[in-house]
């Protein structure tokens, strides 16, 4: 049946075969996902723009602020997210070949995402216990350059953290419905996860490596 529908023999040139329709459909689904990702990139680009302009206004305070951040947290979280992107890519790749390894790799990605968030929790807790958070006594009396640095730090890593949390939920849904979803579904979920990784790739040097 499939070979008949895929066959070139029974169809005049202007006819679209079923496999072509499926191909078109998966392309448009991917396009929709990419359009959404562009809007996400634009969202973060706005924040990066704010960061860049304020950093050029207050370079010294940005350096002082960055010294307060823990490089090890930043570095390990980078490694964790990069590794989770690898497991995600491998998971998507194995989807139509070996569903069991897809499930295991998806689970690994979710676990790594959760570990990232736990690290973030400890990192933020340490900052907050030192009295460094928006509107705290220390920051309220600090120079505006420092206030802006930590405001951007909390806003940008916080928004990114929310995206990681959303990604974890999305991948959990994929894991639960793994037998019902198709290749494009998991591919698009993977695209989202990789985008979150890319945003962190830029956040890491801009906040942790400017001392």
């Amino acid at each position: 049946m499939a070979s008949h529908l895929n066959g070139k023999f029974h169809h005049p040139r202007h006819c679209i075969t079923l496999s072509e329709i499926v191909k078109q459909d998966s392309l448009t689904s991917k396009m929709g996902m990419w359009l959404f990702l562009f809007s996400e990139i634009l969202l973060f680009a706005g924040l990066f723009l704010l960061y860049s302009v304020y950093r050029s206004y207050y370079p010294d305070y940005f350096h002082t602020g960055a010294k307060e951040l823990n490089l090890y947290f930043g570095f390990f979280n980078t490694v964790i997210l990069l590794t989770s992107s690898l497991t995600m890519a491998l998971s998507v790749d194995s989807f139509e070949k070996n569903l069991k390894s897809t499930r295991m790799l998806l689970l690994a990605t979710i676990v790594l995402g959760v570990v990232f968030l736990i690290n973030k929790y400890f990192e933020w807790s340490a900052k907050i216990s030192h009295g460094i958070y928006p509107l705290s006594d220390i920051l309220s009396n600090a120079p505006s350059g420092l206030r802006i640095f930590f405001g951007l730090y909390y806003a940008m890593t916080g928004l990114h953290g929310l995206h990681v949390a959303a990604g974890v939920i999305l991948l959990l849904v994929a894991l639960i419905m793994l037998k019902k979803i198709n290749h494009v579904w998991i591919h698009n979920a993977g695209l989202y996860w990789h985008l979150v990784d890319i945003i962190w790739i830029f956040l890491f040097p801009l906040f942790y490596l400017i001392t």
């Binding site: 570095f75 890519a89 790739i201």
Partner: protein
């Protein structure tokens, strides 16, 4: 495929170590440029390999280029604006 992904991951980790090492060297203004070039390289690796962009049809690649160019133009114009104020 899995080989490509594992190699991509190795490059990404190597570039992360590189960017941490380079950051400890005092390069002044250049250090920002170097950090952004390394981050850009890492992002391209993820886009091309993990996100399959290199295997996608031209129309998707064009869409991506269009979106990124728009953002880069906005960034450059704003930098010019704030620098000359």
């Amino acid at each position: 495929m899995s080989r490509l992904f594992v190699n991509t991951w190795l490059y990404l980790i190597a570039l992360t170590l590189l960017t941490v090492t380079v950051a400890s060297i005092k390069l002044g203004f250049l250090s920002v440029a170097v950090a952004l070039i390394i981050a850009g390289t890492k992002a391209s690796l993820v886009l091309m390999n993990f996100m399959h962009l290199r295997f996608e049809p031209k129309v998707l690649k064009a869409m991506f280029l269009f979106a990124i160019s728009t953002i880069v133009i906005i960034l450059i114009l704003t930098f010019i604006d704030t620098a000359l104020r």
